[in-house]
Subunit: 200 residues, 2 copies
């Protein structure tokens, strides 16, 4: 079993954001690390159909209520962004460019993007938002702008999406503990227990 | 706020079954009762689209794994029935006939049907299964056979389905604490906390 948990998420996913605020703490408690793996759920929808949760009839209004209730329960600041849901392709490409040179900064960058979007209402779909978040962490903005247009980075993101889908990921957040897959923010307590007990 | 929780479920729903084994205990702990409200999720699918979870690509195989894992975590016996998922229209009609004269027996009947299906592999779609479960509780089998063909009972079930959908129910299980809606077996801990704190 790999020492590191794999944390798959879409930057536009509210439950992914909630999980992002808790997953490192849960892993650390059990001496484990977390590999953050942003992806585009749109790639899943293209493959098997589907649509963002909040756009679905009946389920949409309920989940809008539930995500706010879940955030309050865990003391996580959460504001529904004006532009929601959004396409986060620039954010994902920037992440996979950054992670090759500096995984720790890439993780902080992802967290900053999530908080900017779900706390401060910064439009994640805009390249300027992505660039500003990177610059605030000391990343070279011009290099980032060039990178997200680079075919190699575009291919990298596509490969990451394909690999996630191949592994069975269909929703955000999804966490793997070794080969054990957990879907949903509401599985974090189960993950905690799994790490504690080694599974059941 | 009503004293009784409303517990909506489809007899063919594995997560509904898991919740049925725990919801009364959670309610009782807080001095509350539970009104069991079987329904046909097919009525929801007709209205807004959708299909049984286990038939969905990618999500299906995962949930089959997760429901067994969730059952083991809570020490609930769970076996995937040979005929699954099934239409539970006879079971629902029998329940709503029975509940008019004896709510306590109707609840025990619903539990017996769930356990018969998910523990002992008794085919819930067969009227004989429904009749046998009722008879075992001392219910008049001939009266039940007549009742499930009665137009008034058919109308009652349709009205129950319509009312559930009108209230926002789109999945099984769904629990209401007063007007607060909780969807999913994985919300039972949240319900427990809601009952304890009065909400947040």
């Amino acid at each position: 079993m790999s020492d590191s948990l794999d944390f798959y998420f879409d930057f536009s996913s509210p439950y992914g954001y909630l999980a992002s605020e808790r997953i490192d703490g849960i892993a650390t408690k059990h001496g484990r690390s977390v590999t953050w793996r942003p992806m585009l759920l749109g790639a899943v929808f293209q493959k098997i159909g589907g649509s963002p949760l909040v756009n679905q009839p009946m389920k949409g209004p309920y989940t809008q209520h539930d995500m706010l209730r879940s955030a309050r329960l865990h003391g996580i600041v959460f504001n529904v962004p004006d532009n929601f849901p959004v396409n986060s392709i620039a954010a994902c490409r920037a992440y996979y460019w950054l992670v090759e040179s500096d995984a720790a900064t890439a993780r902080d960058f992802a967290q900053a993007l999530y908080r900017g979007y779900f706390v401060e209402n910064r439009d994640l779909s805009q390249p300027e938002t992505v660039i500003a978040a990177a610059k605030a962490l000391g990343v070279d903005g011009d290099a980032l702008v060039a990178a997200v247009q680079d075919q190699a980075i575009k291919d990298r993101l596509r490969a990451e999406n394909d690999a996630a889908i191949e592994r069975g990921v269909f929703g955000s957040p999804t966490v793997f503990v070794g080969d054990e897959m957990f879907w949903g923010h509401d599985r974090l307590e189960m993950i905690d227990r799994w790490l504690e007990t080694g599974g059941w």
